[in-house]
């Protein structure tokens, strides 16, 4: 006497949309699960005609890719949704952006073309701000790190303490001064070095904090305050330039 839902099955997906969003300011402290809940509620408030899975507990069809860690800000997070009626991507973008809290900002929505989005997300670019660390110290640490063929670090994962190499996945690492004009350095004399990290997506993932642990291991780099980290981009890795391309290019009309 098993029950099944009455009525017709839910309407099928007729269109897939790919979203790029940013996680900014204090909302960088939201976890991936926090974002999922906020996003699915925003879809309901914005009245996006989502496609749902069948069964007694229908779920909206949303695929999340490669979320940045809790505490890491991001300009380049990606999500794919399926809708049951065709929508204008720009209208969806505006409605969702208005519906999400400030700090979770929808930057772009495109209709999905062929191919998997996740497969295009080969690497990430991160900016790591090291307040209280002067440029020469940061540069020395970067050089020491890049000289190593391998730097083992440990991190607590779901499956317990794991030991892995934080060096091989790093495609590029550079220390630069804070951009002139952006900050008021004459007023604030505290030094601040910026690291620009390009890292390949591997298993297990090498994250910015793993690289920071590695820098501490090879060069005793110990920032006096927790560094602030922002993911600037994700996408296909261009091995010629060691840079990351825009993953939505193939989808754009």
């Amino acid at each position: 006497m098993a029950r099944t839902p009455e009525g017709p099955p839910p309407p099928p997906a007729v269109q897939r949309l790919r979203l790029r969003y940013a996680k900014r300011g204090r909302l960088r402290f939201s976890s991936h699960r926090d974002f999922q809940r906020a996003f699915e509620r925003a879809l309901r408030r914005a009245d996006v005609p989502m496609a749902y899975s069948a069964g007694f507990s229908p779920h909206p069809k949303v695929s999340y890719a490669n979320a940045a860690a809790t505490g890491v800000a991001s300009e380049a997070e990606y999500v794919e949704i399926a809708v049951a009626r065709r929508c204008d991507p720009e209208l969806v973008r505006a409605a969702l952006d208005a519906s999400l809290p400030p700090g979770l900002d929808v930057i772009e929505v495109v209709e999905a073309g062929p191919g998997s989005l996740v497969d295009r997300l080969e690497a990430s670019v991160y900016e790591i701000r090291l307040s209280g660390v002067d440029l020469s110290t940061a540069r020395a640490a970067v050089i020491a790190f890049l000289e190593q063929p391998e730097v083992m670090v440990e991190r607590m994962t779901k499956n317990g303490l794991r030991s892995f190499d934080a060096r091989a996945a790093v495609v590029a690492l550079r220390a630069t001064p804070e951009e002139a004009g952006l900050s008021v350095e004459s007023v604030d004399p505290a030094p601040c070095a910026i690291l620009r990290l390009v890292v390949r997506h591997t298993m297990p993932a090498v994250r910015p904090d793993d690289v920071l642990v590695a820098l501490r291991r090879v060069a005793d780099l110990a920032p006096p305050v927790p560094p602030s980290v922002t993911r600037l981009a994700q996408g296909p890795l261009d091995t010629a330039t060691d840079d990351v391309a825009d993953p939505l290019v193939p989808d754009r009309p």
Partner: protein, 647 residues
Amino acid sequence: MAVESVFPRLEALLPLVQKPIQYVGGELNARTKDWDACDVRWALMYPDAYEVGLPNQGVQILYEVLNEQAGVLAERTYSVWPDLEALMREHGVPQFTVDGHRPVSAFDVLGVSFSTELGYTNLLTALDLAGIPLEARDRTDEHPIVLVGGHAAFNPEPISDFVDAAIVGDGEQAVLLTSQLIRAWKNEGRPGGREGLLLSLAKTGGVYVPAFYDVDYLPDGRIQRVAPNRPGVPWRVSKHTVMDLDEWPYPKTPLVPLAETVHERMSVEIFRGCTRGCRFCQAGMITRPVRERSITGIAAMVEQGLAATGFEEVGLLSLSSADHSEIAEVAKGLADRYEGTNTGLSLPSTRVDAFNIDLANELSRNGRRSGLTFAPEGGSERIRKVINKMVTEQDLINTVTAAYGAGWRQVKLYFMCGLPTETDEDVLQIAQLAREVIRTGRKVTGTRDIRCTVSIGGFVPKPHTPFQWAAQLDHESTDARLAKLRDAIRGDREVGKSIGFRYHDGRPGIVEGLLSRGDRRIGKVIRAVWANGGRFDGWSEHFSFDRWMAAAEVGLAGTGVDVDWYTTREREYAEVLPWDHIDSGLDKDWLWEDWQDSVGGGEVEDCRWTPCYDCGVCPQLDTEIQIGPTGVTMLPLTVVSSPVLAR
């Protein structure tokens, strides 16, 4: 004078703590008003972790009611976990609000809502982190008024050292009146300073200021009398009652957190109060009379709330939701309106009758039917008469037959252990009941794939109930009785594997009992527990029974009374109870007669449907029962299907 945000300093600590999102605020529907444009400023606290405190309806209601007023501002603050507490102490970051991240000490009032006594130590942590002196007598004009409310405030005596004032009953109108008095006092140049303000609050008759009362004790430790020590301060302080719920449709725009919380749904309170007369139930006694929200009022709140939040589930809340006079129409109307929208509806009702199953079926028309919960509360027919829970074993079997027959697969049963006059035999009958439930379920469904969960906790006698005089069962006996029940259930080879057994050990109940029925002498105990590291006592991983007992040993030394005196001792009619001067509207003689009747197995009907039995609330508070039916029906909603998004 501008008050600076502590966020920049807090932000540096957040990468180092668990679940930092709970401290950043910015929830959907949160508001931060201009500090300088307001002259009455409230910090509202729920003294538990954010995940428990954020969904609290009381705080959300007052937050919205206050912020709607011109010139009045309210921000929220919650207990911080020990990891952040340690960092805040190390870096000198004070207790802050999550809205504006302003220091709590900068507000005019710190309003704290106590649902449970086990939050008392968390109040002390917040005061200390805020830089507010722990004891009210050490505070100056510079410090906020510490004002408490909530169900636990119906006996504020154990925390009277730490609070400036307590308000009992419904807060909606009380906070507005308080705001007016604060504004008047400020505009007049703060006459009389802090004490002047407290005196103006006390003179309303609805605000209890512990410092304005003296307590004398008899040589044997009992209270001799509690008397006001200032002219104009009333002998008894009365509770506040909002009469027309439709005039107070709050929260209109519920808060939607980013962080995960204990209730991931929107709640609409469908009525307040309960007159079922369960003798153990403090909530049912202190929230009388029953006041219903109308069917149209409920429909409007659900519609507006869903649009404002995007929640996927709506809970229809009250003390016994199936008792709303138009609940069938409400359930059908909402199920019709939201059919096909993937919006879940839930009715947390635990009534044991077939009507309840019809309601649950209606609300889960096209959803999963996993579990239903019923609360017979007592294992034997005799003990159910003692507590005035008029449910027979046949009622329960009929109800679960209907539930399993309608496709529900799991039935949860709630019970209490340690009720007055209870014996081992009363509790062991729970095993018998559970067996009958499983047998019935297997017969009705023709499958063994059904379950029954028995959930049981120790009974704690509460103030303002007929059991306020009762002896609490000591924790050793509670644990022994629960162990016997567990063995009886597990040892049943026929059905044992289909019955889940969940129970709470008796020791936290003793501390809750000490705090529930304690008097002013308990303040020293609370302070000692806190000083020894007591935090989050409602969480089993933080609770330490030994810490409480050691603190009681020290704190009560020289008083002639001890923990047993407060908990396992039965009181006599003539004893002055610590909360006698807090007027919940209930007539003490009626409570006593009901207590006497209970031991003799006498029953009381629900006065919504039978004549008044003179509990005292309506004449005492000049209130009356407010129930339907209104006869109005819910019209179908015109579903607006986002044409803007369509191409």
